[in-house]
């Protein structure tokens, strides 16, 4: 076990040297964003080397921090470069007129049934599909509100666990629902934040 851990650390340290040296050499800002995202994986690898349930649970916050910072930075990059061009021609096939409502409903329904993290991902895909087909004007504000509610629900669940632990069951379900909302909301943003007239 000890040798394996040291070998793993050695591999990660080597990757750190390679990855960060690439960052030193890279001049283009867009490529830098991509490289930093790659470098974040190394932090997760270091946590994963601990190889306990706790490590598995710590990876989630680590991953979320990376994704959040990436989201903020790329938006700063877009604004700085003034990249707000809408794609002129998008894919349009017949199924995109007939299917979105029912497919999105099925996916969201199944996501809610699953609940929790991957339930959120499934529901999010349903929402993405709907938005790709129907356009997403005016709907962006909804997700901001949703994100706020998910946050509040999570805090409520946390206080249930701290103050009245005998109601742990409600805490689990509230947190499960909150993470569903959160992940679904984030997933549905993929490809919709490209700027332009849609507020």
């Amino acid at each position: 076990m000890e040798e394996i851990y040291i070998l793993g650390l050695l591999a990660v340290f080597l990757s750190i040297v390679i990855g960060f040296w690439a960052l030193v050499k890279e001049e283009d800002d867009l490529h830098r964003i991509l490289l930093t995202d790659l470098a974040e994986i190394l932090a997760l690898a270091l946590i994963a080397l601990v190889a306990t349930d706790l490590a598995e649970a710590l990876i989630l916050p680590g991953l979320v921090v990376g994704i959040s910072e990436l989201m903020a930075i790329s938006e700063v990059f877009l604004v700085r470069e003034g990249l707000t061009r809408q794609p002129e021609r998008m894919l349009h096939i017949e199924v995109m007129d007939s299917a979105p409502a029912i497919l999105a409903l099925a996916l969201i329904g199944y996501g809610v049934l699953l609940s929790g993290f991957s339930g959120g991902a499934v529901a999010g895909i349903g929402v993405i599909f709907y938005f790709i087909c129907k356009g997403h004007d005016e709907r962006f504000a909804i997700f901001e509100v949703l994100s706020g509610y998910a946050w509040v629900m999570w805090i409520v669940a946390f206080f249930i666990f701290v103050l009245v632990p005998q109601y742990w069951f409600f805490g689990v379900l509230i947190a499960g629902a909150a993470i569903l909302l959160k992940v679904a909301g984030k997933m549905s943003l993929v490809g919709t934040m490209r700027g332009g007239a849609n507020v």
Binding site: V12, T36, A43, L46, V50, V65, E69, L70, I73
Partner: protein, 222 residues
């Protein structure tokens, strides 16, 4: 039940808040830092943004840099979040929890700066953001190495004399806080603070200063 093993550096603990495995605490030292952060957060809530005036040389002309209400609201929200994250980092009794609050300070700092439309400020925000992002590698890496080599993340155990924290983990922790709080990289901060909106922008400095004081305490105690 909870008692700090070393009281020479930060004084005896004043009180302890238990959140499951994460046991937060105040000592004389961290309570002072906490109060300072709290004062500044309150200051941010009640104050109005400063307006800068540019004077054109050789004439009577001057420009006022206006701060729109929307921008002010957003910056105040970010400064408030930054203050809360700093409060969290000050009282944290768990290494991983501390690193999380530290990265929250980093990201709110990006937010405070990103509210401006000036290109040079946005560029500084971007470059700073890249550093804040890669700083999560030493930050979380340090917590991970501590967990793997000592089997715990709680500062209550780590501060004891029976547990030896590897030097590399300590250096990684300091390096991570350096990246998130930007303390030694005043180049970017100079660019950032050329923008109007004083109390909110100052939150960046206050938070990184306090983070540094806290991380020094943690590293020495470990």
């Amino acid at each position: 039940m909870f008692e700090l093993p070393v009281t020479t550096i930060e004084g005896p603990e004043i009180f302890v808040i238990e959140f499951g495995d994460i046991v937060n605490y105040f000592t004389v030292y961290t309570a002072a830092l906490f109060t300072f952060a709290l004062l500044f957060t309150i200051l941010v809530i009640i104050s109005r943004p400063e307006r800068q005036v540019d004077i054109a040389f050789g004439g009577d002309a001057f420009y006022t840099k206006d701060v729109t209400p929307a921008q002010m609201k957003f910056q105040r929200f970010m400064a408030l979040a930054c203050g809360l994250a700093t409060l969290g980092a000050m009282m944290s009794g768990d290494v991983f929890n501390f690193t999380l609050f530290t990265s929250m300070v980093g990201i709110t700092n990006i937010g405070i700066v990103a509210a401006y439309k000036y290109k040079h400020v946005l560029n500084a925000a971007f470059q700073y953001g890249i550093v804040a992002m890669i700083a999560t590698v030493p930050l979380f890496g340090s917590a991970a190495i501590i967990l793997a080599t000592t089997g715990t993340l709680s500062m209550w155990e780590l501060f004891g004399s029976t547990i030896a924290v590897p030097l590399i983990a300590k250096i990684f922790l300091v390096l991570g806080v350096m990246g998130e709080g930007m303390a030694p990289f005043y180049v970017a901060k100079a660019e950032i603070t050329r923008a109007p909106g004083a109390p909110y922008v100052l939150m960046i400095h206050v938070s990184s200063l306090l983070l540094f004081l806290r991380v020094v305490e943690i590293v020495i105690s470990m």
